[in-house]
């Protein structure tokens, strides 16, 4: 068991160094590690899907299920076959049917989730922020709550205004023809500030996560070296 850990540890160490070799530019070691990663991921995904999706939810019902269950499986099976046939140049057009089904289903799920799980609850949260009962819940932070609600409202309206792509009904000509109406121009400027802050926060998060990943790799390398030296 210990030998097994050491062997895999060394393999992990070598792969880590090969990936880090990209610091000196694209090279064969980096490409080898990248190809290895892509190939392993694809193989692992294939095995995982076969074992955890296709076998329990498609193959077993077809083999062991009753006729009702088998009838239920005809649709998915037909879609699978059409998708496989689409890999042949002669039957490429058949792949549109399962892809259209997937696209429609995904769109329905995403739109439904976005509207009922994000848009409506978020809008309600902004409205409720102006509820005086919320302000009075903590008398010591009343003005902070009010300020928070106002900033939230201005930020929301400003960001939405930034994505307003209309223009003036009666432009005066020149550059004025492509400008938004004046209220939208002002709010869009405010929204731009909020968007910048949000993107900055996202970048800081990505930066932080990447730095932690690097720290983790340094710890891993140190651990493997210590183990190889017999000190770990």
């Amino acid at each position: 068991m210990i030998l097994n850990d050491v062997v895999w540890g060394v393999v992990g160490l070598l792969l880590t160094i090969m990936i880090l070799s990209y610091l000196i530019g694209d090279n064969v070691f980096f490409r080898l590690a990248a190809h290895l990663f892509v190939g392993l991921t694809a193989g692992y995904m294939a095995v995982l899907i076969i074992r955890q999706i296709l076998v329990p939810y498609l193959i077993q019902p077809l083999i062991n299920g009753g006729w009702v269950e088998r009838l239920w499986m005809i649709g998915p099976l037909a879609l699978v076959i059409l998708l496989l046939l689409s890999q042949l140049p002669r039957f490429t057009s058949l792949g549109r049917i399962p892809l259209a089904y997937l696209a429609g289903l995904t769109a329905a799920v995403v739109i439904g989730g976005a509207v009922f799980g994000t848009l409506i609850p978020q809008s309600r949260a902004i409205v409720e922020a102006f509820d005086p009962a919320v302000w009075q819940a903590d008398p010591g932070q009343k003005w902070f709550r009010v300020l928070d609600a106002v900033v939230m409202l201005i930020g929301t309206v400003g960001v939405l205004s930034y994505f307003h792509f209309g223009r003036k009904l009666i432009p005066r000509g020149g550059q004025d023809a492509i400008k938004k109406p004046y209220p939208f121009e002002v709010l869009a400027g405010i929204g731009q500030v909020f968007i910048g802050i949000a993107l900055g926060a996202v970048f800081a998060g990505v930066f932080s996560t990447a730095l932690l990943a690097l720290i983790d790799r340094i710890l891993f390398i140190n651990q493997i070296i210590l183990r190889l030296m017999g000190a770990g």
Partner: protein
Amino acid sequence: MMSKLICPKCSAENSDQSTHCFECEASLAAVAPSDINNFNPSEVEEFDLMQESENDLPGLLSALKQNGDIDAIDDEADGAVEQSPAISQENSLPEQPGQEEQVPDWLNRIRQRASEEEDSVGEITQKISAAQKSLEDDKKAHQHQNFKSWLQNVRGLPPGQAGNPPPQQEDLGDKDAQSPEHDPDWLLRIRKVKGTDPEDEATEPVSISDQGGDSLLQWLVALEEGDEDSQDQLEDTSALELEDDQKTRQTRIVDRDQGSEVTRQVRTTQQTSSRVKPPELHVSREEQNQADQLSAVIGDERAPRPPREPEGKSSAWVIRLVVAVLLITGLSLSLFLGSGGGVPQGALQPHNVAALSWAEELEARSSLLLVFDYQSGFAEEISLVARPILQAVIQSESELSILSSTASGVVLSRQLLGDMAGADGLDIIDLGYFPVSVYGAFSMANRAIPQWRFKNLPELPNLVSGEGFDGALILSDRHDRARVWVEQLNALSPQMPIKLLVTSQAGPMLMPYWEAGQVTGMIAGITEAAGIEALQEDSSVIGNRWQAYRTGSIMLIVVMLIGAVFLVDQNPEDQEMESA
């Protein structure tokens, strides 16, 4: 004596005072007046009617095709094309009385339809019948017994070019009768209008196309043999004419002597074609432009260029390497030589406190759902973030249902729980790999018809919508995937508390869900995890990492500032645009 001006363009008659044709408005200034008395109007009509009949033929064939008769016609036509010149000649001759029984079925159907309908097709067919009848009566006439030779004569072609036997001498007289001097005036005018000169045609050498057979084949043979003379001659006619000559033509002619209009059906195969021309190459303007562009590109590619300089790439990787070595060195020093202190205390956010208090107050034997939705590269950060919450959950001896919505989540869940102290005695239900998009689809279906319970399908939708869980913990490295889980679970079971244990990069975009109350607790990133560890007065896990994290952050901020001030990479195109 009445003079008329014959339009050279459309052959219409105009008065001698006209300056432009009343039909096509072509100029008549250069046209000499013609004596109308010497000009038989039926001749002009003959000329026009021939074209008219050709225009009517597609309509006739189209109508027959709709009735399913076209196949018979095609068969007949194909058979006619494949016939020998002798047969073609025979077909071109007027039918003999005894041959009436040999009339093909399609022609009988045409006649029958013509007798019933008075459309253009019927009119043509009636004229065909009338022509046949008239020809039988006129059989004894001395003119135009050989219709084909007469037709060639009309076109101003020498009989040898038809590929058929020469016309009978008794029909057309001696050879002198065929000379242009003996042709009638109207025929000369038509030839003049069409621009054909029988003398020129007669002097042309006999080409391979004159020898009968398939003209296309002859053309290819001529090309292969490199017969220059043949090719020169072939260039005089168009490819369209080649196709037309291979089809059966129907020509209406007018018998001058009888003064009656006579229609004959004439099969003119390619052998009757006088001239064959190779297909012309038509190049549109767009194609010409594309060819020009391609030529320009090729020329540009072949043009000599000065050797490109490396643009300082050698220094770029050195800078990168130096920065990376400095960063790794700094991180290593902080990790292994640091004191491990300095974890921020009192920096807990409300959503951190909510998550922690929920875990600590969890009732024993609670049923929880754990969603593993992160990649292996973020396993360390997720482990730091989830550790305090998972320790509290394990202590409550809750029943855990594990679900992976990423492929690596199956392995990472075992790794994370295996590292936890006391996790061996946990009651764990592994729901396996279950993509979040599939979960959304099942959730939607379950919501649409709650009575449905899918068999042999993932248990999760039924579990969530049925008895449900006492809480859900979502461990994710991406805000969009975590958001989908929040949306679906919140809509499916609004009362179920949802806690998020996410990375730093996912945290900011998920805060609105905490503000809206859709998420009842959240820990994001090492900063918040360090705050919880400080609250628990245990800095053994995060302590050194936190120091290294701070060191690395400062170093990278400095590097970014230096890069922004001194090493802004501007390519020459941007500089040109700015200068412009």
